[in-house]
Symmetry: C2
Subunit: 282 residues, 2 copies
């Protein structure tokens, strides 16, 4: 198993000190093998999560453009049953959404017990892009750190497991990926001048992300910084983190479900026996 950059509020992190290219001497082949095994385990864990209905899981994905949010979701799709897993993408807010507090459009997408929600971008846009582009005053976006912690505490106190991932890439890697998209006719339609304009604000975004991560990391809703220049390493970090978050409940969920199964079988047996004795009597 690899070492993961988990941020849980005990100490602050500096993004510039975490290397997006560090793959811990692992080869691609080795990583893919581990990821595949972890996906099999996650599939089993999801089935137990779903059946027991005791907890829910919220996965938040954030990162610069081209950092691989869509790729992570495709990767997890290999593991996760769509029954019980919903992906929500948060784009530029509508007028109705802007007429409410910034969590108003987020809250309805929180996972139901037994289910998994994946956020492709999230409420963190409201302390990142909003800050970088000065869409709100500093007083407003700074106040949101506490509102976010309050909101996530509401969810965790209702048995939601929260995992937040920052997909960490280098500025050079972003350039390579943007150029590759330009060269690919199936992807170039996604591009705009805006992508390059956003890139000019790279440092502002890194500062905004670093602050957001440091201000909203808690043991119950930790951030994981994912070195994401190599997609296969990124997917391994995600798979391992998800598996580790659910694994501690495996035994309990399985034994609870076994007990429920025994109770159901007993009730059925009694029903059958009663029916038989009635038939005998009549």
């Amino acid at each position: 198993m690899i070492k993961v950059h988990r941020v849980d509020g005990k100490k602050t992190i500096s993004l510039s000190k975490i290397n997006p290219t560090d793959v811990q001497k692992m080869s691609k082949e080795e990583a893919v093998m581990h990821t595949t095994a972890l996906h099999t385990e996650i599939a089993e864990l999801q089935a137990l999560l779903y059946a027991s209905g005791e907890k829910s899981l919220l996965i938040v994905l954030q990162g610069m453009d081209t950092s691989g949010k869509d790729g992570v979701i495709r990767g997890l799709s290999n593991a996760l049953n769509n029954t019980g897993c919903v992906v929500s993408s948060f784009k530029v807010p509508t007028e109705e959404e802007r007429g409410h507090d910034f969590l108003w459009r987020i809250h309805p997408c929180a996972p139901q017990l037994g289910q998994i929600s994946i956020f492709n971008r999230s409420h963190y846009e409201d302390v990142v892009v909003v800050r970088v582009h000065k869409i709100a005053t500093e007083k407003v976006w700074r106040g949101r750190y506490d509102r976010i912690c309050d909101f996530e505490r509401l969810l965790t106190s209702n048995n939601t497991i929260i995992l937040k991932f920052f997909l960490h890439i280098t500025k050079d890697q972003q350039k390579r990926r943007l150029m590759a998209r330009e060269a690919d006719p199936t992807k170039s339609w996604k591009l705009s001048v805006g992508d390059w304009q956003e890139r000019d604000l790279w440092n502002d975004y890194q500062v905004a992300y670093e602050d957001a991560i440091n201000k909203t990391s808690t043991p119950e809703a930790p951030w994981t910084i994912v070195p994401a220049n190599d997609k296969w390493f990124r997917d391994l970090v995600i798979a391992q983190t998800v598996a580790e978050a659910l694994r501690p409940f495996h035994k309990k969920w399985l034994s609870d479900l076994t007990l429920r199964g025994e109770a159901a079988k007993k009730a059925i047996a009694e029903y059958r026996a009663g029916k038989t004795s009635k038939e005998t009597a009549s």
Copy 2:
């Protein structure tokens, strides 16, 4: 103007010390006259709230069965334009709602800027009926006081004015109203044995309400205890409290809107002048 029992967290209240029959020596005729005048003022204030879109208003109604929540809403309907005012009633939660945190079904009903939301019952059921009927453990419902304050802070920090009303009646008055409903064929269909069973838990409810009110009163989201044995006095307290909450903004909203109107008229005049000079030139 009458004296209102406003609870804003500076000191705690005891429900048994507030008299549900105290009408402050006001006659019914006098009260109705004042209420009518206040309704006219509220209608004006709502129009400005709506047009300026700077703030929103949330009115929360709680109280024992027959305390007059529906009556208050009927009364306010005389003042409020339905465009920009939505009533949400919260009944026993569905299975999907129970699969989420207790605020999940509430949050989508929070008012948009410019609008008014009225909650007929609310998230306070989750610290009152849930406590009285032991639907959740004490640890769970006690934790909810903080979650409620966090949630209301989220709304007030987004310019929502919150007014919470506890409609305070005597146990005798409830009996009279239940008997009156039984005698009225247009109302008796609403009754059930459950109404009388709930009545047996009167004292438990009073304790649960008193705690909820004391734990969640803040200057930004105050509770008002409404002596509600007399419907005409109850309606006056509500009307006065709503008018007083909006009145401080009257001047600013009106002047903002006047400026917007002047700007619009100027732009139209310029457009017309340009068109005229083009017509002259051609």
